[in-house]
Symmetry: C2
């Protein structure tokens, strides 16, 4: 059975009863599992993690929009986190038995349905975007809800689906498809923040490093050590082991060893299997050889 994950971000993090209604809309959709949800009062934003097949995830997303449109008015919304819409961002992530193309198709399908049913303009992002200027969430969201009417009136910012002007209370929504993120940190056997910052600059895409790496150097004061803190945005194209080896090599240049690395939150099984394959020089290996998979799939 195919699994798509979705992580909708909604512009409400203060009214517990509204957050609970949003969660219930997902939980009550047949075929969907609500795996996690959290609300942040200072961001005034909540994040839901759900999983199911394409039909179930679509139904849950539409149910979530129905509650959000009934309860959220962005004209009165304040919070630290940038936002464009009541349902601000909806990514679809391929997990098992589905391709990125399936998730792109789902994003287009859900985007069209949201626009038609709720008259909310929809922008497609990441892998679902056909327009390089509208691939990054930050670019689409720049100007936020307050600047949205002006932005949509300017060249290049008509939505992918729905009306040419913002929904009065709900703004616009950004819907798309992306790979799972891996939050991955490497702790250095030193407290030198300058070394962590130099390694982060060497390895991250924005300053010349690996294509799917975001990185910064920070200091963990409680442990008295420096850390290269990263987001890996496509573990198939920029694998964990290559990132780790590059950090290790850059650290050695400063006479610094690696203390340890860590995954924060979840990691796809394949990212770990690829690392085992690399280091063990494993050839002719396919995931059908993984015992648990064979026992499940028969």
């Amino acid at each position: 059975m195919p699994i798509i994950e979705s992580i909708p971000n909604v512009s409400e993090g203060r009214r517990a009863d509204v957050v609970e209604r949003l969660a219930s809309a997902i939980r009550d959709t047949p075929g969907v599992r609500l795996l996690d949800h959290s609300a942040d009062a200072s961001h005034n934003r909540s994040v839901f993690t759900l999983a199911g097949d394409a039909g179930a995830v679509k139904a849950a997303t539409l149910a979530l929009f129905a509650v959000a449109l009934e309860t959220i008015d962005l004209r009165r919304h304040r919070g630290e986190h940038p936002r464009l819409g009541a349902v601000d961002v909806v990514p679809f992530v391929p997990i098992e038995g589905v391709t990125m193309a399936d998730c792109v198709a789902l994003a287009r399908d859900v985007g069209a349905a949201v626009a038609e049913r709720y008259q909310v303009p929809v922008f497609l992002y990441e892998e679902a975007s056909a327009n390089p200027a509208r691939k990054n969430l930050e670019d689409i969201r720049r100007g936020e809800f307050e600047g949205l009417a002006a932005k949509m009136a300017s060249a290049g910012w008509s939505p992918d689906f729905g009306p040419a002007t913002p929904h009065a209370a709900a703004g616009a929504s950004v819907i798309g498809a992306r790979m799972p993120l891996i939050a991955y940190n490497v702790n250095l056997a030193t407290d030198r923040l300058d070394v962590a910052k130099k390694i982060a600059a060497a390895i991250r895409h924005s300053s010349g490093g690996l294509r799917y790496v975001k990185a910064m150097g920070i200091r963990l004061d409680d442990r008295n050590l420096a850390q290269v803190s990263m987001n890996l945005t496509n573990y198939e194209k920029t694998p964990v082991f290559r990132v780790f080896e590059m950090v290790k090599r850059e650290a050695a240049r400063y006479g610094v060893a690696i203390l340890e690395s860590e995954v924060v939150g979840l990691v796809p099984s394949a990212a770990l299997v690829h690392s085992a394959e690399f280091y063990l020089q494993l050839e002719r290996f396919t995931e059908d050889q993984i015992l648990e998979k064979k026992l499940r799939d028969g």
Copy 2:
């Protein structure tokens, strides 16, 4: 849902209709999946791979015994493979959501039921054995069916369950619990068989090496290279990465590099995850962080 794997070996590999009846007995047991089966005519032996929870695997094993007792007479059985019984060996292997202790308990439970229902003596082996002299299958099976009556009459060879003398047609059965085996080979960047043999001798348990490694050096004539061919019998206590690193280090002593390694057949997911953890120096990682597991288990 817990998964136990079982790989019964039955002393019939020539009569296709009998092998099919044995397979059907497993296949028709509710809650059991027959994942694989194969018959070898020169060994005159068939091997079945099935999975399910403890109750289902027990029911399938008893159904298999019923067919074997009806169709197999070891007094007329000839074949290259050593054997003691009609149902010769039945291992239970913990896969998911079960412990080794669960599989040991299942071996005792099934052993008692087989002895009571079919009057076949049962010897417990590997993890299910409480007696160091009766832990290895080879030690229990030495003398085979033809020598069994004499062996059982000698000191130390009364069975764990059932009558003190062999079943006339079905001999005795060896039932137990063990870890999954991993068939793991390392190919050397040389055709020097002597190097592969020296590495095998260094790494295998029998000649002073690692506790859960069986190894031999062979030559792959079609690829013109030497191979260290291994069975890893407990990947938790002697992990794959440690075996690989030791082979690599021993090879370096002869100026030989590693070409590649390979897994033949199935490997438990955890064996690969442990390798990734080792090489990435991953700390504070638990298998609950594996995305697919989280999505399945919720």
